[in-house]
Amino acid sequence: MASLAEKRVEHLEIVENIVEQADAEQSSAQPEGRPEELRLLEALLFASSEPLDTASLAKRMPEGVDIKAALAQLQADYAMRGVNLVRVANKWTFRTAGDLAWLMTRESTETRKLSRAAIEVLAIIAYHQPVTRAEIEEIRGVVTSKGTLDVLLETGWIRPRGRRKTPGRPLTFGTTEAFLSQFSLEALGDLPGLEELKGTGLLDSRLPSGFSVPVPSDDPALREDEDPLEDGELELALAPPVEPEGDAEG
């Protein structure tokens, strides 16, 4: 694990890149003549606890504002600050800077630690989705206890997304937006080490089915070998109700 000092250096490097990019795009970014749209964006994003996508931002902003450029500028403005503008699950939100975690411990609510089994199952779902319980067990070489999946469902980070078109029609699992949000991932492609895993072919866990696609995807659109869940099945599988963000920590 990287030390905190290293992390901070990393953070600064990222920040410098962002700032350079933004400066290149908008050479005349003087603080006084700060465009009003930045104030508006700031206010909207700051006020909300939920990440907002560009479409809903555009809906609230005056006509004709280049939302993407304004977001890039705002991201640069805040890159050096204690609060950063980040993109998670393709939505924008302000969050405290990652290197200040030590300062924020008191804000931290009771965090439940996931068991190693749960972490492993979560990783398998994230990297191999859509994936069935049998496939998870094939990778781990052990039966997954019901409790492990329940705990993960309760976090709101995974969801049953369909049924595999194989005998027994087992549920397929995938990750949610809350998962991306929890781990500050813009998209599933940003999963750490995904490229290496793809390279080794180790992602191809699928039992021979003729449909194997060795790239994880949380695209809600079902794959060819997936059937939709029936009405009401989702509620059953997901109960109890999960808060969209917030208390879903590990």
């Binding site: 694990m1 700051f46 006020a47 909300s48 606890s49 939920e50 939100t93 302000f94 969050r95 405290t96 800077a97 990652g98 200040l100 975690a101 924020m104 804000e107 931290s108 609510t109 965090t111 068991s115 190693r116 089994a117 749960a118 972490i119 492993e120 979560l122 990783a123 398998i124 994230a126 990297y127 990778i139 781990r140 070489g141 052990v142 039966v143 206890s145 949000s181 929890q182 781990f183 500050s184 991932l185 999963l191 750490p192 080490g193 995904l194 895993l197 080794t200 180790l202 866990s205 963000e245 917030g246 208390d247 879903a248 920590e249 590990g250």
Partner: protein, 279 residues
């Protein structure tokens, strides 16, 4: 899976430490990694070579030795572990013996490679899991706005109504009103109740046979009402006859209709208010 789960976090036959304890075999899986594949992976790590180059033969020996050690101290092993042991023993014998010429199914080499791949895959996903969990996490390392400001919702009602709604409402309204007015202002129909009340008054004085239409024409001023007056009166007359307060007489069809008061047997209550419902 059975309740007895071994911990193979170290992969060592940590059994030695357990020997001092009584025979009840239980090593709880503290860290949550479990199962024979996990044990194999931990044993493989002891070979300290790339998993791709691991000697499956040596690994099988290690595993079997571990199981043997566990059995010696009567450590209760989950069935999974024994199944794996049996499979590894089989694989080992296949690897040691020369391949039969026409073997169906995978060769021993292929089976060994498949096992090595499974181990690599498990190791890779664990590495990925570690990297995932090392990322700054929400509400643990990084935080969202503590006091989100609610967005007030202003609702603008948008009313819906179609031209059909409008026209049918108007037509129904006007029509209903017009008909109601007609009813109250000028009645073109002489109701049975009215006819009966009039007849009863007439019968009271008509002790002799009298022509019904004479009275009626005398009574009704508006000639346009003749028909309705006559019809209602006739119906009322029949009713009074049935009740026994009046007699009617007619010589032949279309001949004048005569009526008179019926001589009372008992005292009929001729003044009783008509109760018959209108029309």
């Amino acid at each position: 899976m059975s309740a007895e789960i071994l911990s193979f976090e170290t992969g060592r036959p940590a059994v030695a430490e357990q020997q001092a304890d009584d025979d009840v075999a239980l090593v709880v899986d503290v860290e949550g990694y479990e199962g024979p594949l996990d044990l194999l992976l931990n044993l493989a790590r002891q070979q300290k070579v790339d998993l791709a180059k691991i000697s499956i033969l040596a690994l099988a020996d290690q595993y079997l030795a571990f199981i043997e050690a566990a059995r010696k101290i009567r450590l209760e092993l989950a069935a999974d572990y024994l199944v794996m042991a049996a499979w590894l023993a089989f694989l080992k014998s296949r690897l040691l013996l020369p391949e039969p010429p026409s073997e169906e199914g995978p060769s021993a080499e292929e089976m060994a490679t498949a096992l090595a791949n499974r181990l690599r895959r498990l190791e890779a996903i664990r590495e990925a899991a570690n990297r995932l969990m090392a990322r700054p996490q929400l509400q643990r390392d990084i935080f969202t706005r503590g006091q989100p400001e609610a967005i007030a919702e202003i609702k603008h009602p948008k009313f819906t109504a179609t031209l059909f709604d409008l026209l049918s409402a108007y037509a129904a309204q006007r029509q209903q009103r017009v008909l109601a007015t007609v009813h109250l202002a000028k009645r073109t129909v002489w109701s049975l109740a009215e006819a009966r009340a009039s007849l009863e008054r007439l019968v009271g004085v008509a002790e002799e046979w009298s022509r019904l239409d004479e009275y009626l024409t005398a009574y009704v001023l508006d000639p346009s009402q003749r028909a309705t007056v006559f019809a209602s009166s006739f119906a009322a007359a029949l009713e009074l006859v049935r009740e026994g307060t009046m007699e009617v007489n007619q010589k032949q069809a279309f001949a004048p209709l005569y009526f008179r008061k019926r001589m009372p047997v008992a005292a009929p209550d001729a003044t009783a208010a008509p109760e018959t419902p209108v029309q």
